[in-house]
C-alpha cells in the first residue's frame, strides 16, 4: 500500500468515524423534534403528489401530440428536474430560515450559546439538520424521476447527475436560508425575507444559469441541447478536454462552493458575539473568492475572440467591479480595532502578524480590500492587454475599453471602500454607513446624467455629455464616443475618485489609530484605579 496515501485514507475514515460516534448535538435534537412534528411527511407527500401529477399530465399532453417517445422522455425529465429545482430553491431556504431565528424567538438561543459550543459548531449543526430535511424532500421526489425512463431519451447517468446537482443546489439554498436566519431575531421576518428573495431570484437564476448558459454551452458543444437543465446532459455529451474540465467541472463547483462558503462564514460571524473575531473567516473567503473570480474572468478574457475584446472586457470588468463593491459593503461593519478579548487570545496563542492582519480592525481591512481590488483589476487589465496586443486593428478600441472600465472600476471601488472606512470611523452603526454609502453611490451614478441632460438641452452640443463623466456608468460612453471631450474628463474623474478614496481611507485609518490609543489609555486608567482602589470596606 502506498505509504503516502494510507494516512490520508485513515484520517478521512477518522473524520467519518468521529461524525458517527460523536454527531453534532444540535443535529440530533432537531431530527428528534422534526420526527415528532408530524407535518414533514405530509409536506413530502404533498410535494411528491404535486410533482407526479404535473409530470404525468405534461407527459400525456406531449404524447397526444404524437412526438417520438425519446423526446417525450427528455421533456419529462426536464420538467421533473425543473420542478424539483423549484422545490429545492423555495423549500431549502425556508427550512433553514426556521432554525436560528426560531431559537432566538423561542428564547432558547442563549442556553445554547452558554454551553460553550462554538458558532461554527452551531452553524454546522443547523446546516446538517436543515440539509437532512431537504434531502428527505429530494429523496421523496426520486421515484418520479423514473417516469421518463418509460419513454427513453434520457440515461440513468444523466438522472444521477441531475440528482447530484440538486443536492449541491440544496446545500447552497440551505446555506442561504441559514445566513438570513442568523441575521434576524424574528422567525416571521426570516421566513418572509428568505421566501421573498427566493421567489424573486429563483426565476432569474433559473433563466440565467439554465437557458442562458445552455445557449453558450450549445455554441461550444453543439451536441448539448438548449434546455434549462443542461448541465447533466453536457457531462454525457460534451467531449472531454480542458474546456470540459474548466467549464463543466471547475466552474460549477466553484460557483456553488464560493457562495456556500460565504453564507457559512456570514452565519458564523452573525452567531459570534460582538467582541469575538467576526472578520477572519470573511476575509479569508474574500481573498479566495477574489482570486477565483479574477482567475475565471482572466480565463474568459484569454479565451474570447480578439475582435470582441473591447465588449468582452467591459462585461468582465463590470463583473469584477460588482464583486469589489460587494466586498466594500460587506466589511462596512468592521470594528475600529480588535476587541480586548481577541487581542488577548492572539497574545496567548502567539498568533503571527499575518494572522492578526486578517483579524478585525478597520485599518487593516480597508487596506486588504483596496489591495485586493487593485491586484484584481491590474491582473484583469494585464490579461486583456496580453490578449489584444498582437491584434493592431482592434488595439485602439480595446485599449480604450481597458483604460475606461479599469479606471472607473478601480477608481470607484477605491472611493466606496475609502468612504465606508471614513464613515465607519465616525459612526457606530454599520447599517447607517451602508445606507449613506448607497445613497452617495446612487447620487454619483445618476445626478451627473441629469445635469448632463439639462446642459445638453440648453447648449444643444454633444460635448455636454462630458458633464456625466463623474458617474461610473460613463465608461461605455467613452468607448462608444471615442473623442477627447469624453476621454479626458473620464480620466480626470476616475483618477479623482481613486484619489479621494485613498484620502478617505487614510482618514479612517487615522481615526482607528486614535481609537486604539484611547482604548489603551482607558485600560491603563482602569488598571491604575483598580490598583489604588481600597479592598471591600468593612464597617
Amino acid at each position: 500500500m502506498n505509504a503516502g496515501v494510507a494516512p490520508t485514507v485513515r484520517s478521512r475514515l477518522g473524520l467519518l468515524g468521529a461524525f458517527i460516534r460523536d454527531p453534532n448535538a444540535i443535529w440530533i435534537r432537531e431530527m428528534r423534534q422534526s420526527a415528532r412534528a408530524g407535518r414533514t411527511p405530509w409536506l413530502i407527500f404533498a410535494a411528491t403528489l404535486l410533482v407526479s401529477l404535473t409530470v404525468c399530465s405534461l407527459g400525456g399532453i406531449v404524447v397526444s401530440a404524437h412526438v417520438s417517445p425519446a423526446k417525450v422522455g427528455l421533456a419529462l425529465s426536464q420538467v421533473f428536474f425543473s420542478l424539483a429545482w423549484s422545490v429545492v430553491a423555495l423549500v431549502g431556504p425556508v427550512v433553514a430560515a426556521n432554525s436560528v431565528a426560531a431559537e432566538r424567538e423561542g428564547r432558547t438561543w442563549e442556553a445554547i450559546l452558554l454551553t460553550g459550543m462554538t458558532p461554527s459548531e452551531i452553524a454546522r449543526g443547523k446546516f446538517v439538520a436543515a440539509y437532512t430535511t431537504i434531502a428527505l424532500y429530494i429523496a421523496g421526489l426520486a421515484p418520479i424521476a423514473a417516469v421518463p425512463f418509460l419513454f427513453g431519451g434520457t440515461t440513468a447517468t444523466e438522472v444521477i447527475l441531475g440528482f447530484a446537482l440538486l443536492m449541491l443546489l440544496a446545500a447552497l439554498a440551505v446555506a442561504f436560508g441559514l445566513a438570513v436566519s442568523s441575521m434576524v431575531s424574528s422567525l416571521r421576518a426570516a421566513l418572509v425575507v428568505t421566501l421573498l428573495l427566493s421567489v424573486l431570484f429563483s426565476p432569474i437564476l433559473f433563466s440565467t444559469f439554465g437557458f442562458g448558459f445552455a445557449a453558450i454551452a450549445h455554441k461550444a458543444w453543439p451536441d448539448v441541447p438548449i434546455l434549462p437543465v443542461w448541465l447533466p446532459l453536457a457531462y454525457t455529451r460534451a467531449p472531454f478536454g480542458i474546456a470540459y474540465l474548466v467549464f463543466l467541472m471547475a466552474a460549477p463547483l466553484t460557483s456553488i462552493a464560493i457562495p456556500a462558503w460565504f453564507f457559512y462564514e456570514l452565519t458564523v460571524a452573525n452567531l459570534s458575539g460582538t467582541a469575538d473575531d467576526r472578520s477572519t473567516g470573511l476575509k479569508r473567503w474574500f481573498v479566495v473568492a477574489a482570486i477565483a473570480t479574477t482567475s475565471f474572468l482572466v480565463v474568459a478574457v484569454l479565451l474570447v475572440d480578439r475582435t470582441d475584446i473591447d465588449g468582452a472586457y467591459g462585461l468582465v470588468a463590470t463583473m469584477l467591479f460588482t464583486f469589489t463593491l460587494f466586498a466594500a459593503f460587506l466589511f462596512a461593519d468592521e470594528p475600529l480595532v480588535a476587541s480586548k478579548r481577541v487581542r488577548t487570545h492572539w497574545a496567548r496563542r502567539r498568533r503571527t502578524a499575518l494572522t492578526r492582519w486578517f483579524g478585525p480592525g478597520l485599518g487593516r481591512t480597508t487596506t486588504l480590500v483596496i489591495l485586493i481590488t487593485h491586484a484584481s483589476f491590474t491582473t484583469l487589465a494585464a490579461a486583456a492587454l496580453l490578449r489584444c496586443m498582437p491584434y493592431p486593428g482592434a488595439s485602439q478600441k480595446a485599449l480604450l475599453s481597458i483604460v475606461s472600465f479599469t479606471g472607473y472600476g478601480l477608481g470607484f471601488s477605491t472611493f466606496v471602500t475609502g468612504l465606508n472606512s471614513f464613515l465607519r470611523s465616525r459612526n457606530s452603526s454599520a447599517w447607517g454607513v451602508r445606507i449613506i454609502t448607497i445613497a452617495v453611490s446612487m447620487a454619483i451614478a445618476l445626478l451627473p446624467w441629469a445635469v448632463a441632460a439639462i446642459a445638453g438641452v440648453i447648449t444643444q452640443q454633444d460635448r455636454a455629455i462630458a458633464i456625466a463623466a463623474p458617474s461610473f456608468t460613463f465608461a461605455p460612453v467613452v468607448l462608444s464616443v471615442r473623442k477627447a471631450y469624453t476621454i479626458l474628463p473620464a480620466i480626470a474623474c476616475f483618477t479623482g475618485w481613486w484619489f479621494i478614496g485613498l484620502v478617505l481611507a487614510l482618514f479612517g485609518a487615522r481615526r482607528a489609530r486614535t481609537a486604539i490609543a484611547e482604548q489603551a489609555n482607558m485600560a491603563a486608567q482602569l488598571d491604575a484605579s483598580l490598583a489604588h482602589a481600597s479592598p471591600p470596606r468593612a464597617e
Binding site: 448535538a25 444540535i26 440530533i28 435534537r29 428528534r32 423534534q33 415528532r36 412534528a37 423561542g106 428564547r107 432558547t108 442563549e110 442556553a111 445554547i112 450559546l113 452558554l114 454551553t115 460553550g116 459550543m117 458575539g273 460582538t274 467582541a275 476587541s339 480586548k340 478579548r341 488577548t344 487570545h345 482607558m522 482602569l526 484605579s529 483598580l530 482602589a533 479592598p535 471591600p536 470596606r537 468593612a538 464597617e539
Partner: protein, 348 residues
C-alpha cells in the same frame, strides 16, 4: 466613581470571591444602564440582587454570564475575567434567564441529554449518569419520558434548573426563577435552592419577591437607576440603616439649622387572647410604645421605639397582666424594610 457605594464585607481577605464587580459601566445608546457598579459575592453564598424594574439587574446578570460585554470596568467570576476568559466563565456558571424558552417537542430526558452533549459532559456510551443525577435532584425522574410541551410552568422551571446543573457549575445565576410560578412551585424552588447551597454552590439570585428572598439569601445588593445603593449581609445593612437614622439630623430649610431627628420607629403585629381595649391599655402604658391600632384578624399593630428588647418587654408586660400572647411578627420582614428605606434614597 460612586463614593457612597457600600461594598459587602463578607468576603474574607485573600479569598477569591465567586463574583467580583468593580466600576462596571454599561450604556445602551445614550442611556447609562449601569453606573459604576461594584460588589462582591463570596463563594457558597446565596446572594440576592434586587431592585425596581429597569434598575439594570438583567444587564448586570447578562454581563456576568458573558452574554454582554461590559463597556468599562472589571467583572470576574472565580477570578476569570468575563471579557477575556469567556469559555472559562461559561464552564463555571449556570445561567437561567428570566422567561427562558424550552424545546417543546422533546422529552425531558432528550432535552437534558442534548444539553449534556452540548456541554460535552463525559458519558459512558449512551448512559448519561449526569442527566439521571440532575433529574433526581430536581425531582424530574418520574417525568423523564414526558414531552416538555405537556409540562406545567413550574416543571419547566425545574427542567431549566436541571439544565444549568448538568455541567456542575460552581455558580448559579438565576434571573427571577420564581416568577409566574404558583405558590407550591415557589416553595419547591426555594427548597431546591437551599439544597443546592448545601452542596456548595454559589447562587446569584435576582427576584422581585422580597419575602421569598429574605428566607434564603445571605447577602443582598440593591440596585437603583444603575447604581448599587447598598450591598452586604442583611443584618449588617439593617444595623447600618438604624445607625444612620439615629445620627442624622435633618436641616430646617427656613432657619438652616439642625432640627431634632424623628424617632426611628418599628412596627410589630401582636395576637393576644384578650379584648383589644384591655391589651391596648397595657401596651400604651409602656414608655417606648407610640401607638396601638387594630389590625386584621384580631391582631394589634404596635408602633414603638427600640430594638428586639422592646418587643420582649411588651410580651413580658402582657404576660404579667395575665394576657396570653399567641403571636408576634414584624409587620414587614427585614429585607422589605431595607429595600423600602434604601430605595427611598435615604442612603444616597
Amino acid at each position: 466613581m460612586n463614593d457612597q457605594v457600600e461594598l459587602p464585607i463578607n468576603v474574607e481577605p485573600g479569598a477569591v470571591p465567586a463574583i467580583r464587580v468593580r466600576h462596571l459601566w454599561h450604556r445602551f445608546g445614550r442611556f447609562d444602564v449601569l453606573r459604576d457598579v461594584s460588589f462582591d459575592v463570596a463563594q457558597g453564598q446565596i446572594f440576592g440582587f434586587i431592585g425596581p424594574n429597569g434598575a439594570g439587574k438583567t444587564t448586570t446578570i447578562r454581563i456576568l454570564s458573558t452574554l454582554l460585554e461590559p463597556m468599562a470596568g472589571l467583572v470576574e467570576v472565580l477570578g476569570y475575567d468575563v471579557t477575556i476568559d469567556t469559555d472559562a466563565v461559561r464552564r463555571q456558571v449556570g445561567y437561567m434567564p428570566d422567561h427562558a424558552g424550552v424545546y417543546e417537542r422533546v422529552t425531558v430526558r432528550e432535552y437534558l441529554e442534548f444539553f449534556a452533549d452540548a456541554y460535552r459532559v463525559p458519558t459512558a456510551g449512551t448512559t448519561y449518569a449526569v442527566v439521571d443525577a440532575a433529574m433526581e435532584l430536581t425531582d424530574l425522574t418520574r417525568l423523564c419520558d414526558k414531552l416538555v410541551a405537556t409540562m406545567s410552568k413550574g416543571m419547566k422551571q425545574r427542567l431549566q434548573l436541571a439544565r444549568v446543573l448538568l455541567h456542575d457549575p460552581k455558580i448559579l445565576i438565576l434571573d427571577e426563577p420564581a416568577s409566574d410560578l404558583d405558590p407550591r412551585a415557589r416553595i419547591e424552588i426555594r427548597d431546591l435552592l437551599q439544597e443546592l447551597r448545601s452542596m456548595g454552590k454559589t447562587i446569584f439570585l435576582s427576584s422581585h419577591i422580597l419575602t421569598e428572598l429574605a428566607d434564603v439569601v445571605d447577602a443582598v445588593a440593591i440596585l437603583e437607576r444603575g447604581q448599587v445603593i447598598v450591598a452586604g449581609p442583611i443584618s449588617e445593612i439593617a444595623q447600618r440603616l438604624s445607625d444612620r437614622q439615629s445620627v442624622t439630623s435633618p436641616i430646617d430649610p427656613l432657619t438652616n439649622t439642625n432640627v431634632p431627628a424623628p424617632e426611628p420607629t418599628r412596627t410589630v403585629k401582636l395576637r393576644v387572647l384578650a379584648a383589644q381595649n384591655v391589651v391596648t391599655q397595657v401596651l400604651i402604658a409602656l414608655p417606648f410604645v407610640r401607638s396601638v391600632t387594630p389590625g386584621a384578624m384580631g391582631t394589634l399593630i404596635v408602633t414603638f421605639v427600640g430594638d428586639d428588647h422592646a418587643i420582649a418587654a411588651m410580651v413580658q408586660s402582657l404576660a404579667q397582666g395575665g394576657l396570653s400572647v399567641v403571636g408576634v411578627e414584624p409587620e414587614r420582614n427585614e429585607l422589605e424594610r431595607i429595600f423600602l428605606e434604601a430605595t427611598r434614597g435615604e442612603l444616597q
